[in-house]
Symmetry: D2
Subunit: 328 residues, 4 copies
């Protein structure tokens, strides 16, 4: 029996982990894609807790970077970047609930080379940006088209990397804000965290009726921090299952795998993201695993792990985790 039967989703979700229906949200079904996480768009799909949904996502450039001669700075102009599927309304969801999302699979979609990476002027971890403003001229703009299969990601003649896909941007709608899909925050969004991968269950704090799930921006793989600002971007087919947990007032995104529980913090500077992540992990350990806060603090000091999702987005996302074996 899978570890999933012991997950928070299966134990506390309305559907108890059972599949209640299957849906498909194709690129055509989606029609107009979304560029903000917010409550002002009408749902493109309504599902019940327990539903499994297959979603066709675009890449972060909306498919506009077709060849290595295309310039992202010309064909993909803010704020119309990082197109998202959704919103998907989950019936019965209310503010204060948690939306569970179990990621089942992420597969590349479309003709090869299906992957794209790039260096974009004014964006990235080792260049001057809008915020870390400097007087330097930008580095040259570069596009690399990248063959991606489940056998590997062909970065160059010299280097083929493992296919380790995940969903770069996913989350629920804020209550009254509508925020660019480039930004991560307590509702999820552009966390660019490699742990948001098949096998994980995500927990999002619902802010409004129906939760309004958005997702997009799949990556064939990515290093810690998404250093240059662009992972191996790809259009993808994502299969996921949703469920609802009533009355679980979590302050940000949490995540569970077979081995660990994890909390995400999104902020600048990076130490604030780390603090948010660890504080929420400690509170989760206190709420659900029988630790007091100080004991949890001591345990995280000796056994916590930090993952740097991104160090390039409007907020940096870090995740703090602890192995379940230490929580027994």
């Amino acid at each position: 029996m899978s570890w999933l039967s012991g997950s928070h989703m299966a134990r506390r979700g309305l559907a108890r982990g059972a599949e209640t229906a299957r849906h498909r949200l194709s690129e055509a079904d989606q029609g107009a894609f979304q560029y903000v996480y917010g409550p002002y768009a009408e749902p493109v799909l309504r599902v019940a807790p327990g539903a499994v949904i297959e979603v066709e996502t675009l890449d972060a450039f909306g498919g506009a970077v077709k060849t290595e001669a295309d310039r992202p700075s010309q064909v993909a102009t803010p704020p119309f970047v990082n197109p998202q599927n959704g919103p998907i309304a989950v019936e019965g969801a209310e503010k204060g609930d948690v939306l569970c999302v179990r990621l089942i699979s992420v597969a590349p979609r479309g003709p090869q080379p299906v992957g794209t990476t790039a260096l974009i002027p004014g964006f990235g971890g080792l260049v001057a940006t809008r915020e870390t403003a400097m007087l330097h001229a930008p580095l040259p703009e570069i596009v690399r088209k990248v063959p991606v299969t489940e056998e590997g990601v062909v970065l160059s003649d010299r280097v083929t990397l493992p296919y380790e896909p995940f969903v770069g941007t996913i989350g629920v709608s804020p209550e009254i804000e509508a925020v660019t899909s480039l930004q991560p925050d307590y509702w999820g969004g552009n966390m660019d965290l490699p742990d948001v991968a098949p096998g994980a269950v995500l927990y999002f704090p619902v802010q409004r009726a129906g939760a309004h799930l958005f997702l997009g921006d799949c990556h064939a793989r990515q290093g810690d921090g998404e250093l240059g600002g662009v992972a191996i971007e790809m259009p993808a087919t994502v299969v996921l299952q949703v469920d609802l947990i009533r009355g679980w007032p979590i302050p940000g995104v949490r995540l569970e795998t077979e081995e660990a529980i994890m909390a995400v913090g999104s902020a600048r500077p990076m130490e604030d993201a780390a603090r948010m992540a660890y504080r929420d992990l400690i509170r989760w350990m206190a709420e659900d695993y029988g630790f007091d806060e100080i004991e949890a603090y001591l345990l995280c000091t000796q056994a916590g792990r930090l993952r740097v999702g991104n160090m390039v987005d409007p907020k940096f996302s870090l995740a703090a985790s602890i192995r379940k074996q230490w929580l027994a």
Copy 2:
């Protein structure tokens, strides 16, 4: 003759600084106040360039903190805090234009004590917050009602401070985002910058047709950084004049007084806000005052001034300025 006749607004604005009409936006006219800066609300007023507008603003608590026994954490709950007047549409404004706002006066409005300050749990410059997450218990919640007149701000029996009012939150709508009025950014918003005061002309980068001006959150006065998180908040009557400058693609908020020009940066950490402010000031000196960037950099090194608006909001706002006498 006033310095205003030589301002960017008077020299480059469509109305050339001339008053074209007078409008009033009372509390009753406003009806429902706004809590996000965004394009999804209908304008409550439409005006032409050159219009003078008198606006009745609420305080940052929406008037809900009536006595020192009221707890902000109970009566003013996010995201429904920092209510804003607007949006006010300015006819003819298009993305890429600049909305000029000349601040004429800010007067307290309503019965004494008209001012309110407070310490709110989880908010402030010297306490643990959502982002600078810690395990400490919050400091006690405190409310202080403060008599405010043009003669002074009676902070305590011991201390009366000068009345130096300004508009804490003001700006234009983003193009597709709708962002909490607690946050400052390139469009303005909650900058909490004391220079946004009568006598100043502000320049906002228009993001959508009509510009959609919002404002609120007036302060009777405030120290640098708004350290505790709450200034002397007051309902106010604001008189301002608007104008439009065509095709001036500024990256953020700029400001002009008789003595100086100033550029605002909003970001975390604070050094990034300082960098943004100084870089934009340098670019303004290069565009409009005949410096090359390196000469402007050298001059700012020897004569630039930095003002810390806030060190407590979701982004910190700093302003960099240079005296006009060095630009002649």
Copy 3:
């Protein structure tokens, strides 16, 4: 009668502000200059509390940048930069005491053009540095020789700025550390704070017997943040008076002028420097001016001022101040 008679130095110092002796520390007397603030160098001068000392300082380049053709990166190589006079031992000083330094005058010294400014590769507020590491090529290295008199600082044909001199680097020895004179910290050092000017009294926390005062790096003037990294550097004659206050365990540098009291914080990121400065100011208000901490916090929120000394050194220095009139 001068405000000085009411200063902490005059009221609490062993010499009560009286001049007890005069000393001169010429360039020749100094001999080898110092490049670290530390306890391992022998004093070049020993003085009693109340002594007035005239000190001949070098500029931050040690005089090695003689013409605009000299390259700082070649002639002034770390760690042998920012030469300091001292250590000057103050008789009787012990750890836990405060060394008072009253700045009397700062005058340029040597042939014109006596001032030097520059842009140095990898150094400055708007360029990639050792810490804010990036892949950009550095900006070109530039040197500007600058005539400086008490009538003005001739930055260019176009701009002459007021002469507003101060001491860029000054402080006491750490107990066992010896730290580069490029860095500010709780003992003082390279704060690059324009308030460290004639008319101010500085308070340094003594860390070891004799206090061991160092100083150097005078500036003819400087903007907030020392943006490009180099002020108007000049060799100077500094006249100052020292005194000792017994048993005043301050956590960092404090400063007093006729109008205000001020506390300095040195840290990165900049908000931490601001927090340190404001927290120490609040504690000073509580210790010596009859406020409780919360009242002081509220007053600083409405009337505190922040000065950004430098945003370019290994730690950024900010100063928080409050006008004495609000402390009465």
Copy 4:
């Protein structure tokens, strides 16, 4: 054959990885321990390249926290904390060389419970500190004595964690500075990085003749970030081998294991430490592995890893790494 024969140490070191002598530096041999990394102390041992040295280290409290009733804030007072063995002079080392240190073993030393952890007021990742200054009262001081063997670290009745020892503080002397052993920097020092473990080879940039190696502060294990500020501290026996590489001007600490190469950055805010680490990793890939900088930047974006050593020391230490298999 071990991977070590292909390491930079074995290929480029003067001793080519061969053991040239064995030395022992017992606690008694050491005599007075050191509290700064600096050039002002006489070497306690002189060795040749290739030497293997067994070193008896103290724990970070100098053994002063003997029972759970001892208060670190009382028995271990700055600056006399984190005692270090050394300096050990390596014959022939000159500025511009690299000191190689191969870590062979780290074993606990002394009676059980040999480990100590604690929460110390004003220190830690989720509390107010000297730099992140706040008005909160400190959390209670706590000491936990922890049995440590190679079978495990008994944190509590409930949790036993694997023994994964490493050296918390290790490095070479700066040229003229003498810096507290609490601080990490380009010379090494208090990095608190779990990768500094048996099996790793470290590369330190020599700053002065003899290199002057210091080490101490061994940890039985630690989580990412050393969240509470204190790992499982223990006195230890460390066995290591040294070698010298001539004329390798590296800007900071580098590290090599069988699987990966790694570069360390120490700075605040945390993103600057990440930037330093990744930039130096990229430059290493360019210098020694045939990548150009842009190719290395792209590869790190997709396959780089970040490890957060500490988020509590005066500078935060992060390490960026890339697997050797992608460098072939």
